[in-house]
């Protein structure tokens, strides 16, 4: 007999992320072997091996729709970026002229345009996450996380460039800060959007804290867009620190919402590989 129980974290990892139908029996076998004298290192090796085997099988069985889902999400993002570059640049141009004549009709149009620009960003994030999770239904969370990572990875070259520039000139610190916040914000918002899109309960059936948090996030996004538009149109520099704090609060709220949505139990659905095993 070995002293102490089996590695709890390893067992938790296997129970939480293992993909075999006979997970209980597998864990029981590992516990039995450990109790009979196998080392913790052996236990860990078996757990890592079981996870690797399970996920490589899943990838083999569903790789095509998985890749299609990521491609569809990226296509939506690229199409939006293309459309955005056509539609919104005029809104951002000549803002300095409007600042001299605030609250004119032109300023209001620019203000609305800025709001629309923000709304389109959030809309894009939601739509792209929705598309990804609909194209690959078998493992919606996994494909969503992969999509978030893919989106984040797209920013790496630009972030690396800013870091290099920062070494030569300290003023790039601000740009780097904005870029990092933007990347994190995008990632967490896409994640929360995707989890919202694949939730198994209606809004009214969700628990109270999740419902209130969702409403708070919606309110924050609206308020954040307003602050952004006002600060850009009127160049209200005193609003900048407030805008930064607002962004951080929004980020924290969305991240917490994503966590709550992630923790909700997801029943095995008709598309699940576990419910309907496929012969490969």
């Amino acid at each position: 007999m070995t002293s102490g129980g089996p590695p709890r974290f390893a067992r938790w990892l296997l129970e939480r992320f293992g993909r075999t139908l006979r997970l209980g029996s597998l864990v029981g076998d590992l516990d039995e072997e450990h109790a009979d004298g196998r080392s913790r290192a052996w236990y860990w090796r078996q757990v890592v091996g079981a996870l690797a085997v399970g996920y490589s099988r899943t990838l083999r069985m569903h790789s095509l729709s998985f890749i299609l889902a990521l491609a569809a999400g990226c296509a939506v993002t690229i199409a939006w970026q293309f459309a955005n570059n056509l539609v919104f640049p005029p809104v951002f141009h000549n803002l300095w002229r409007i600042r001299q004549h605030a609250w004119t009709a032109v300023a209001v149009v620019h203000f609305s345009g800025l709001l629309l620009s923000r709304a389109s960003v959030f809309g894009l994030c939601f739509v792209s996450a929705w598309v990804v999770t609909r194209v690959h239904r078998a493992h919606q969370r996994a494909v969503l996380v992969a999509f978030v990572l893919a989106l984040t990875a797209q920013h790496i070259p630009w972030l690396a460039r800013l870091v290099t520039d920062l070494l030569g000139n300290a003023r790039f610190a601000t740009y780097l800060e904005y870029e990092i916040i933007g990347v994190l914000f995008q990632g967490v918002f896409v994640l929360a959007s995707g989890l919202w899109a694949i939730r198994t309960h209606q809004f009214s059936e969700m628990n109270r804290s999740t419902r209130w948090l969702a409403l708070l996030v919606a309110g924050q996004l609206l308020a954040g867009a307003m602050i952004f538009a006002v600060s850009r149109v009127l160049d209200l520099s005193p609003l900048r620190p407030f805008a930064q704090i607002s962004s951080l609060v929004q980020f924290a709220s969305i991240a917490y919402l994503a966590l709550l949505l992630w923790k909700r139990p997801v029943p095995i659905g008709p598309d699940s590989e576990i419910a309907h095993p496929q012969t490969n």
Binding site: T20, L21, R22, G24, S25, L26, V27, G28, D29, L30, D31, E32, E33, A35, D36, R45, Q46, V47, G49, A50, L51, A52, V53, G54, R57, P277, Q278, T279, N280
Partner: protein, 111 residues
Amino acid sequence: MKGREFLAQHEFLVMLAVLRLGREAYGVPISAEISAKTGREMLLGSVYDTLERLERKGLILSRLGEATAKRGGRAKTYFKLTSDGLRELRETQRGISALSEGLLQLGGVRL
């Protein structure tokens, strides 16, 4: 079985181990039997993955066994070959034997 498919190497090994173990065929002994007879370790995760695949193909059957405190209260799952499984195993073995026949290299003898 729906179509004619060759057994993969892992499937072949696991089915042979299940056959050898008889009523005692569950994850740990199957893995141990393969290690003992082939000298190569087969991870338990890989054993269960193969067993799942074989069960989907209708080549083996499973039944839940006893749960013990040593196993954290989790039941064992025992496996046995179906008649289709046994037939498939025989045919695979026959095929391997036929292909191997006359190949002196496999006996360690020069060409």
